[in-house]
């Protein structure tokens, strides 16, 4: 596994599109290994990746990738990173092996080496049998794989994967995640996985940076974030008064509630109060507790807390 020294750092970075700020004074550090960049649509994830690639110039702030300053060494950085864009991208009129080999040459590999690696990475991503087909005839899932292949051909030290499972069927999605996990954990490639899908990030990554509305909402190792002080419970209650009254009562006491199924909610009780506190509050409100089960905090809970979703 790659070392955990920061591979990407951002210091007070602000990026705006016209008057709209996409990144607001962001300060963050991405450790080595696999780091998830998590956030709802429009949170600023893709903007951050594009800024790190040098596509967007920040209004303020400083960014470093693999120890190099993005403002002064963009080419040196891009020689060492691979980028898998979110949208369908290919070079028109080429078959897969020509396309990937061409990308290798663009990244500075000699022609023969580029072609050899093109064959290798196409087999690695599962396109070995289809490598002589024109990329324009590929299915959505195959197009995702070819984007990964072009990002890998020059053997980058750091991979930016922008929504890599978009449009893939369940089997293809599993395979894509397995590839990302294998690269990060067995092949020594650092990666930043940008996604709004929590299971994807949780499966592949060791750490996560949660973004919301252009700011960093939370960051850290996933395991540590899931062990935040407090307990999570599944709770079902019976109440004569409207349920919302009880929920607002819990919230005013600092307990976070998240609806799951029809009448079951997940509640996060901070501190050491635990079930005792919940029973006491239910009793005080005249609410009958029908079901209370301790639960494990998931990344979804962390995410919901970070972005303030109920």
């Amino acid at each position: 596994m790659p070392d955990s020294a920061p591979v990407v750092t951002l210091d007070n970075v602000t990026v705006t599109y016209g008057k709209q700020a996409a990144l607001r004074d962001v300060t963050a550090a991405f450790s080595g290994g696999a780091v998830g960049l998590l956030g709802p649509n429009g949170a600023g994830k893709s903007t951050m990746l594009k800024s790190l690639l040098g596509f967007l110039v920040p209004d303020q702030g400083r960014m470093r990738v693999l120890g190099l300053d993005v403002a002064t060494s963009p080419q040196e950085i891009r020689a060492r990173i691979g980028y898998m864009p979110e949208s369908d991208s290919h070079i028109p009129g080429m078959n897969a092996v020509s396309f990937v080999g061409y990308c290798g040459e663009l990244a500075g590999l000699p022609k023969v080496d580029a072609m050899q690696r093109a064959h290798e990475v196409l087999f690695y991503v599962g396109l070995g049998e289809a490598r002589y087909r024109n990329v324009e005839t590929y299915s959505t899932g195959m197009k995702q794989r070819i984007k990964l292949a072009q990002a890998l051909v020059h053997d980058p030290d750091l991979l930016f994967l922008d929504e890599p499972t978009n449009g893939m069927d369940p089997k293809g999605r599993d395979e894509m995640l397995e590839l990302a996990r294998d690269l990060a954990h067995n092949k020594g490639v650092n990666l930043i996985l940008s996604s709004h899908l929590l299971p994807d990030v949780e499966y592949v990554c060791d750490a996560v940076v949660v973004m919301d509305k252009g700011r960093i909402a939370a960051a850290g190792p996933i395991d540590a974030m899931k062990q935040a002080r407090g307990r999570v419970y599944e709770l079902r209650v019976k109440t004569v008064a409207p349920l919302e009254q009880f929920i607002s009562r819990l919230q005013s006491s600092g307990i976070e509630c998240q609806a799951t199924e029809e009448d079951v909610m997940r509640v996060f009780v901070p501190g050491d109060g635990g079930a005792r506190q919940l029973f006491a509050m239910a009793s005080a409100a005249g609410v009958q507790v029908r079901h209370l089960r301790p639960s494990v905090q998931t990344l979804e809970d962390v995410f919901a807390k970070a972005v303030g979703e109920q």
Partner: protein, 281 residues
């Protein structure tokens, strides 16, 4: 999770080219793509027909004393040669150039290119080199080859010595003609995702400017507005360089400035449009 197909990913420990050569990769790949197309090869072949005719003209001028003086190859024949070749410059520019950037835009390829260690200038230079290679082949290379053949057939250097300016003149006019066409076409290609639309736009630019000039010439009864037409500007400059009398009343410096302005504006458009990310405000 399902098993993945192959875990055979290896780290690469081989050599990497220094930065600044990616434009050569783009140019050579682009040239290879076009020379495998039959239609394009046919077009290239057609562009050599005039050359063969001129070779025959030179042959008869040199070997047949009775050959009419009116048909004899002269220094001005080279200007006329380049003038006629502008037809093929137009067709090759449209065929090769219209999709050079437009197709990349359609396929979102710009973010692939610019995520590699190359600058936007290198990308543009690579695309520019593809078009220039073909255009110079049918103007500059053919023109110089014609001069060489004339010298060889004559068996003396007299014609070349008497017209020493021909070599720089052919070079200069060829480069002005091709740079103007390539720059304008690339700029238009960067404005759209459709190669077909770009081709129509380029043709409209050339023909409309000429048509407008002809209308104004008819209305005003003079040719001082020749600067409107890109073809007229090129002819004006070409005549100046080949030491021929100018045919339009527009001062040559105005024609030169118009050509320079077209190239500068094209560069500005390319600088604005060739980016890894498109910002829609």
């Amino acid at each position: 999770m399902s098993p993945i197909h192959d875990q055979g990913y290896r780290r690469y420990a081989g050599e990497r080219a220094p930065h600044g050569r990616a434009w050569l990769v783009i140019a050579s790949a682009g040239i290879r793509t076009f020379i495998t197309k039959r239609v394009f090869l046919g077009l290239l072949l057609l562009s050599w027909f005039q050359f063969l005719g001129r070779v025959a003209q030179i042959y008869f001028t040199v070997t047949t004393p009775q050959w009419p003086a009116l048909l004899a190859a002269s220094a001005d024949s080279y200007r006329q040669f380049l003038d006629v070749q502008s037809v093929f410059v137009f067709f090759i520019t449209v065929y090769v150039g219209s999709g050079l950037i437009a197709n990349d835009r359609r396929a979102n390829a710009l973010q692939i290119y610019l995520s590699k260690p190359l600058t936007r200038s290198e990308y543009i230079l690579g695309k520019f080199a593809i078009l220039m290679a073909f255009l110079l082949l049918i103007t500059w290379v053919e023109g110089l080859l014609l001069l060489l053949i004339q010298t060889l057939l004559a068996g003396s250097f007299k014609f070349v010595i008497d017209n020493l300016y021909l070599f720089p003149a052919i070079t200069l006019v060829s480069f002005i003609q091709t740079t103007m066409a390539a720059a304008a076409m690339l700029a238009l290609s960067s404005l759209s995702n459709s190669a077909r639309y770009v081709a129509i736009l380029y043709a409209a630019l050339i023909f409309f400017s000429q048509a407008l000039f002809n209308v104004l010439r008819f209305v005003t009864g003079g040719s001082t507005v020749a600067w409107i037409s890109f073809s007229a500007n090129l002819e004006q400059i070409s005549r100046l360089i080949f030491r021929q009398p100018l045919v339009y009343e527009t001062p040559w410096i105005v024609s030169f400035l118009m050509i320079a302005a077209l190239i500068v504006v094209s560069g500005w458009v390319l600088e604005r449009r060739v980016r890894g990310v498109e910002i829609v405000s």
